[in-house]
Symmetry: C2
Subunit: 254 residues, 2 copies
Amino acid sequence: MENKFAFAQDLIKKAGQLVIEQMKDVFDVTVKTTQDDVVTSIDIAIQNFLIQSIAEHYPEDHFLAEEENCQHGISVGNVWVIDPIDGTLNFVTQKSDFAIMISYFEKGSGQFGLIYDVMEDKLYSGGGVFSVTCNDEKLPVFDGRPLSHSLVACNTGMLLKNSYGVQELLKHSLGVRNYGCAALSIARVLNNQLWAYISNVYPWDYAAANVLGQALGYELMTLDGSDIDYTNRQMVIFLPSQYKNTIQELHFRS
Amino acid sequence: MENKFAFAQDLIKKAGQLVIEQMKDVFDVTVKTTQDDVVTSIDIAIQNFLIQSIAEHYPEDHFLAEEENCQHGISVGNVWVIDPIDGTLNFVTQKSDFAIMISYFEKGSGQFGLIYDVMEDKLYSGGGVFSVTCNDEKLPVFDGRPLSHSLVACNTGMLLKNSYGVQELLKHSLGVRNYGCAALSIARVLNNQLWAYISNVYPWDYAAANVLGQALGYELMTLDGSDIDYTNRQMVIFLPSQYKNTIQELHFRS
């Protein structure tokens, strides 16, 4: 597993370099479902680069990835979950605040996860048997502070619709942030900068969170009480495990 | 004026160093009005440092500053507008995403403005007769792109209350961001990363925006159509000047 983890760490940095090179030129932006759901030619190129590189080294492995309907079931064999560019709208309009995410599962069990903040050159990696680090610095476990002393990142659509009484929940916090990037919001939770992250996300958006968070005392919980299924888009909160029950109470009370 | 501008650029960096030194130790956090309106002992220390340093060099000058009721009228004499730490909640909980802001006015006319992103060591400065730069790089003038291809940062309270029909306005954009820091949201507009910034802000939050924005094609507009008064908290949008009329139409239609 050490080799595979080191391979992934090296690979994600190479993919980041490729993004930086390609974003210097004009690139295509294609609308997927709505005006704010876009994919660029760079997303596709990076996903292809990652999948081809992994397949070359580990030809028996499978893929669950954002673009081009590449969706192998999480629980069957060795599966790499890939989001080539998370925060594509930030990537297109801001040229910053996006990340590459990779996580690796064997028979449904997360072995390691990686979030690479390309423009800041910060690699969050670890999980499973590996320490969770940002670059070479070990990340601390959750420090126990309450929601009332903390900030939370939340999806705007859910905030406006008050999905699952999220507005009530957020009133117990110091305030709401919205960075427009699941990966970097998750990284801020892992960093003790945010208390939680609430969004409506796909498996490639949350897989790394679940693997990276476990060792530091965080976990992913769906807002409707169902299991995390690694197939559909789900409304989730990524939060400190020790507050899971408190939040369930708060949230079902509202 | 060159000397005064160079003095301010040097001073704001020194203040940033002081913040970094002081944040290593435990510091006091005091609630001002509500739980999410706080001031730290570092805010006070930095404001005192800035005011003392300026008063030593320019004893005839006046101050309009965030902490401790230091509010000289903007139109009388030479006035330094100071926000020692903008984004105090980010400063306290995230140790990042905050900035120091200084702007300088003579008889109500902005001469230069500065926004210093302390943790990223990025200084946005200029306005009046000076080019607007980020560190040593000249910032481009607004590139003309429409709201429909852009992101907007917006205050959460105003978004939830739909103040001045802001939800309608934002439906014309690609999406909403919330960084919890006026200075850094303004910097992202100046950088062409965001199209506009909407918030309910005090003079020390917006003074620098108005001075820095002018040369690059941005301006500050109140949402109720009144003048920017440099005395009260006002709901404002900082946006490309060329779209001011379009936005007024959109916004009063809703």
